[in-house]
C-alpha cells in the first residue's frame, strides 16, 4: 500500500467534495449523511494511546503535559485510581460512569473542577466512578487521539496489571512511564516485552529526569535490559517541572528541553499512520458510493445508445429493485441469519464467560483450602485476578470474532443473493466503468474491508477494550484490597516474644482470614459476573444493531440507486432524437467525471499503483 503520500489527505478531501457535489447533482441526498460520516471518520479516526506505569511514576503529570491542560490531579500522596479516558472536545466536559445501587450503570456529567476528586483515591467508596470520560480542546487530540490514563499497575502481579495487560491488544499505542530514579526491574521488563507483542507502538517515557543526574546511565541500562529481552521501544526522557517552567515563561527552548514535544510528535506519528489507514478505508467506501451514482447514468446511457434493449434492462432493474425491497424486509434471510446468529453468539459468549469464571471460582476454592501463609493467600488472589482478566479478555475476543464472522456470513449471503438475482448481469453490458457497483464481490469486500471494519467498531478496538479495562480496573483492585485487608492477622508471628498461646490464636485467625478472603473473593467474582454480563449484553446489542443498520443502510442505498435508474430509463422513452444526443453527451461527461473520481479513489484506496 502506498502510505505516507503527503497529498493524500488533500486528495481525499477533494474526492469527498466531488462526490457530494455529484450526489447532490444526481438528487441522491440520501448519500450525504453517509458521506459526512465517512469524512468524520477519515479526519478523526480513533487512535487509542494507553498510559501505563507503576505507582507514582509521574503518569498523570505526563498526561497533563502532553495535553497542555491539567486534566489529571498530580499529588505526592494521592494516586489516580480510576481509568480516565481523555478525548477531544471543543468545550471541556466530564462524564463519569459508576454503578448505581442496583449494580446498573449510571452516567452523569460532572464539573471539570471536580475532576481531581473523581479520579483520585480513595476508590473504596462504592459510589466511586469506574471510569471517567474527559473531553478537552487539546491540539494533540484534534486528530482523534484518545489518551487512556490507567491507575498504577503496581507490580506485575497486581490487579491493575492484569487488567491493563488484557487491554493492550485494544490499544494503538502504549506509553510506559518509569522514573529515572532506578533502572527497570524484571517485572517491568517482562511487562514491556509482553506489551510490545500485544500493541503495535510502545513508547517508553523516562520521567523525572530533572531529579536524577544519572538519568542517562539509567536510560542506557534500561535500553540494555530491554534489548536483551528482545524489545526495543523508543526511550524518551521527559521532565514535568521543565515543562511547567516552559509554559509559565513561554520559553520555547525549555519546551524542547522538557522532552514533551518529542513524545507528542511520536504520538502524532501514530495518529497520522492511523489517519492514513482510515483514509484508505474512506476511499474504498467512496468507490462504493461512486458505483451507486454511476448505475443510473450508465443504465440511461445504455438505453439511449441501444433503445432496443431498454425494455429488457428495465425488467432487470425492476426485478432487482423488487428483490432489494424484499431484502429490506425484516423477514429477509440475511435478517434472520443475523438475528439467529446473534442469538447463538450471545449464548456462546455467555457460556464461555460463565465457564471461564467457574475456573476463577475453582481457583478460589482450591487455592484457599491449602493456603496457610499470607504469600499463599496473595498467590491465590493473583491467580484469581489472572483468571478474571483472561475470562473477560477471552469473552470480548469471542464476541469480536463471532460478530466479525457474522458480518462476513451476511455479506456472503447477500453476494450469493446478488448472483441469484443476476445483479452483476444488469451492469454487464454497460460501458467500461471501473465502478463495478452492485456486484457480489463488492458487497463482500465492503463489508469486510470498507464499511465492514467500521461495522464492528462498536465492540472491537477501543470501546470494548475500555469498557473491559474500566470494569476490571475497578473490580480487581477491590478484590485485592479486600483480601489483603483480611490477612494482617497472619502476620506478626513474632518468635521474639515467645509463642505461648499465640499458635492457637494464629491458627484460628488464619481460619477466619481464609474465610474472609474467600467471602471477599466470591463477592468480587459475583460483581464481575454481574457487571461484565451487563456490559456484554450491551455490547452484543450494539453490535447487532450496528451490523443490521449498516447492511440495511447499504441495501437502502442500492434500492434508491436502482429506483433512480428505473426512473431514468422510463424517461428515455419519451425523449426525442435531438434531445437524446444532447443527453448522451451530458451523461458521457458525467460518467467521465465519476470515472475520474473513481480513479483517484482507487489510488487513494491503494487498489491500483500510481
Amino acid at each position: 500500500m502506498d502510505t505516507g503520500n503527503p497529498s493524500a489527505p488533500r486528495d481525499l478531501a477533494a474526492l469527498l467534495d466531488g462526490l457530494s457535489a455529484e450526489a447532490r447533482g444526481a438528487g441522491r441526498t440520501d448519500l450525504l449523511t453517509r458521506l459526512a460520516a465517512i469524512r468524520a471518520r477519515a479526519q478523526r479516526p480513533t487512535t487509542v494511546v494507553v498510559v501505563v506505569g507503576e505507582f507514582k511514576q509521574g503518569k498523570s503529570a505526563l498526561v497533563n503535559a502532553l495535553l497542555g491542560i491539567d486534566v489529571c490531579p498530580v499529588d505526592d500522596a494521592v494516586a489516580t485510581s480510576v481509568v480516565t479516558v481523555v478525548s477531544h472536545g471543543d468545550e471541556p466536559e466530564v462524564t463519569m460512569r459508576r454503578r448505581g445501587p442496583d449494580g446498573g450503570l449510571v452516567q452523569e456529567s460532572a464539573r471539570v473542577e471536580d475532576l481531581p476528586f473523581l479520579v483520585a483515591e480513595p476508590s473504596s467508596d462504592p459510589a466511586a466512578p469506574e471510569r471517567v470520560d474527559v473531553r478537552v480542546p487539546s491540539p494533540l487530540l484534534a486528530d482523534g487521539l484518545v489518551l487512556v490514563d490507567t491507575p498504577g499497575i503496581g507490580g506485575l502481579r497486581s490487579a491493575h496489571g492484569a487488567a491493563t495487560r488484557a487491554f493492550l491488544p485494544f490499544a494503538d499505542a502504549l506509553v510506559y512511564a518509569s522514573d529515572a530514579g532506578a533502572e527497570l526491574n524484571e517485572t517491568e521488563v517482562a511487562f514491556l516485552v509482553d506489551a510490545a507483542g500485544a500493541c503495535p507502538n510502545v513508547l517508553f517515557a523516562l520521567t523525572k529526569v530533572d531529579l536524577f543526574p544519572e538519568w542517562r546511565r539509567i536510560a542506557d541500562l534500561d535500553a540494555e535490559h530491554l534489548r536483551a529481552a528482545g524489545c526495543e521501544p523508543t526511550i524518551l526522557p521527559v521532565s514535568h517541572p521543565v515543562w511547567q517552567e516552559a509554559v509559565s515563561a513561554a520559553d520555547p527552548d525549555a519546551r524542547e528541553e522538557s522532552g514533551y514535544p518529542a513524545l507528542a510528535s511520536e504520538l502524532l506519528e501514530v495518529s497520522t499512520r492511523a489517519k492514513e489507514r482510515s483514509g484508505i478505508r474512506a476511499a474504498a467506501e467512496a468507490r462504493w458510493l461512486l458505483g451507486q451514482l454511476v448505475v443510473a447514468d450508465q443504465a440511461e446511457l445504455g438505453a439511449l445508445s441501444d433503445p432496443s434493449a431498454t425494455q429488457a434492462r428495465l425488467d432487470e432493474l425492476q426485478a432487482a429493485s423488487a428483490h432489494l425491497d424484499a431484502l429490506s424486509d425484516a423477514n429477509a434471510q440475511w435478517q434472520r441469519t443475523l438475528t439467529d446468529g446473534f442469538a447463538d453468539l450471545t449464548h456462546q459468549v455467555t457460556h464461555a464467560f460463565r465457564s471461564a469464571m467457574r475456573g476463577a471460582d475453582q481457583a478460589v476454592d482450591e487455592g484457599l483450602e491449602k493456603a496457610k501463609k499470607r504469600e499463599e493467600i496473595e498467590a491465590v488472589v493473583a491467580r484469581v485476578q489472572d483468571h478474571v482478566a483472561e475470562a473477560v479478555r477471552g469473552t470480548f475476543e469471542t464476541l469480536n470474532v463471532g460478530a466479525e464472522r457474522l458480518g462476513s456470513t451476511v455479506a456472503d449471503l447477500l453476494a450469493d443473493d446478488a448472483l441469484a438475482v443476476g445483479a452483476p448481469g444488469f451492469l454487464s453490458g454497460v460501458g467500461q466503468s471501473p465502478a463495478t457497483g452492485w456486484s457480489g464481490i463488492d458487497v463482500t469486500q465492503l463489508l469486510e474491508r470498507g464499511g465492514g471494519g467500521d461495522v464492528l467498531a462498536a465492540v472491537r478496538g477501543a470501546q470494548g477494550g475500555i469498557v473491559m479495562l474500566a470494569v476490571m480496573g475497578g473490580l480487581l483492585p477491590a478484590a485485592a484490597a479486600s483480601v489483603v485487608a483480611a490477612t494482617p492477622f497472619l502476620l506478626g508471628a513474632g518468635v521474639v516474644f515467645g509463642t505461648k498461646g499465640i499458635a492457637d490464636v494464629r491458627d484460628r485467625r488464619a481460619q477466619q482470614a481464609r474465610q474472609k478472603a474467600r467471602q471477599a473473593l466470591k463477592r468480587v467474582l459475583d460483581d464481575v459476573q454481574f457487571q461484565v454480563s451487563s456490559e456484554l449484553t450491551e455490547a452484543l446489542r450494539l453490535s447487532q444493531r450496528h451490523l443490521r443498520d449498516e447492511v440495511g443502510g447499504r441495501l437502502g442505498e442500492l434500492s434508491s440507486a436502482t429506483k433512480a435508474a428505473v426512473a431514468r430509463l422510463a424517461q428515455t422513452a419519451k425523449a426525442d432524437a435531438a434531445g437524446n444526443r444532447q443527453r448522451i453527451e451530458e451523461l458521457r461527461v458525467r460518467v467521465a467525471r465519476l470515472d475520474a473520481l473513481d480513479a483517484s479513489a482507487a489510488v487513494l484506496a491503494g487498489e491500483v499503483e500510481t
Binding site: F212, P213, E378, G494, V496, F497
Partner: protein
Amino acid sequence: MNGGASEAALRAACARAAELSRGTELDRRVAAVVDRFDGPLRVAVAGRLKAGKSTLLNALVGERVAPTDAGECTRLVTWYEEGLRYQVQALLTSGDQRELRFQRGEDAIEIDLEGVDADAVERLVVQWPSSRLATLSLIDTPGLASNDRAVSDRTRGALGVGRGGAPDADAVVYLMRHVHHTDADFLEAFVDPSVGTPVNTVGVLSRADEIGSGRIDAMESASRIAGHLAADPRVAALCSTVVAVAGLVAEAGQTLTESEFQALRAAAALASQERGRVMLTADRFIAADIDGTDRDRRRLLLRRLGLFGVRFSADRIAAGTAPTTAELAAALVEVSGLGALQRVLRERIEPRARALKARSAMLELGDVVSELASSDPSGAAEVGRLLEEASAASHEFAELRASHLVMAGYTDLAGAEAADLLRLLSAPTPAERLGIDASRGLDAVVEEALTAVERWRQRGADPLNDPLTVEACEVGARSAEALYAGANPT
C-alpha cells in the same frame, strides 16, 4: 521494676549452661549469649533492594562506612560494631574467620574479598571506633526482594528467619518504599514477620526527598505520607511508627565537608530567580556557569546531596540561616528526618534495650537447652527452670509481649481501647502511661492508676475474651499496680 531479679536468674542460667556445655560444641554459643547480653543492642537495617539501606546506615553511624555502589559487598550481610581499631573480618560459613584488607575510598570503604567466594561468607564484620556504635551495633542486610535467591536467603538468615534460637537482630529499622495500598506487593514490602514485631521495629519511608519530586516542601509531603502509612492497620501491626527519611541528605548532613559547603555557598550566591532556573534540573545545575565551582564539583554535590539537598542548602545559605558548615550540616540532618529517626530510636527502642537483649539471650539459651536435652536431660531442665524464672520475674518482658500482642492484632482490643492499653504498657513516664497531665502530681497518678487497675482487671475478666486478650489486660492491670506502688510508697 524487677529487672534485677530477672537479670540475676538469666545470668545464673547462663553460668549453669556454661558449666554444662564446657568442652562441647555448645560452649561457644553459650559464651556468645553472654557477650550479646552485655554488648550493645543490635539493630538491623532491612528493606528491599535499593531502598537506600547503606546510605541510611552511613547516616546512623555518622561516617561513610557502608559500600553504596552495587558491588559484591552489598550482597553480603555486614555487621558494624564498635572496635578499638579499624578492622574488617569475614566470618565464613565454615566457621573460620579471616581478616580482610580494606581501604577508605572516596565514597565508602572498599573491602577486598581477596578471592574469597561471596557465597562462602556468612557475614562481614566491620569494626570501627565510633561513639555511635557504642550503644547500637548495626547490621546491614542485602535486599530482601533481591532477584538473587542466595542474597534473599542470606538476609533471612541474618534476621534469624527459619532457624532455631534468637534472630541476630534485637531490633529492626525497616525501610519501606512508597507503595500503593492496593498493591499486591504491599505486604511484601515488609520484612519477614518472624523478626519484626511492632515493639522492636521502626518503619522508615525511605528516599523521602524523591517522593516529593525534590521540591522544597518535599519532606513535609513525605512526612504526611509516612503518617498515612503508620495509620494503616496493616503497617501498624508491623511497626509502631513510620518516619520519613531522606537518606542521602542525612548522610551528607552527617559528613558534610568544608569544601562542599563552599561549593554550595557559591551556588547560593546566584540571584534567587537564576538559582531557581539553574536548580530546576540536575542537568542544568551541572551545566551552569557558577563562579567558584566547576562541573565535576557540582556533579559530586548532586551525588552527595541529591537535587533536594542542593536546593535546600542553597536556600538556607542564601537566607542566612546556615552560615557555617556546622550549621548547614545540622539543618540537613534535621530536615532529612534523621533527627526524628534518632529520637524514635532513643525514646522507643533504647529504653527497652536491656529487655530486648535479655529476650534474645533467653531465646538463644532456650535453643541451647533443647540441644543439651539429648545428652543431659536433667541439666537442661535445670537451665530451663532458671530461664522460666528469669522470664517470669520480668514484668518488662510481659509488657513487651503484651504490647506485641495488641499491636500485631492478636487480641480483641482495638481503637481507643488498644491505644490506651499500649500507652499504659509502654509510655516512658507514669503520667504519660496513664494519659494524664504531668503537672497534676502524684495524687493524680495514684488515683488514675487505681482506676486503670480496675479497668483492665474488669476488661480481662470478660468471659468472651480469648486467652491472649486476657493476658494483655492482666499485664496492663499489673503495670497500673506498679505505677500505683511507685507513686504511693506507703
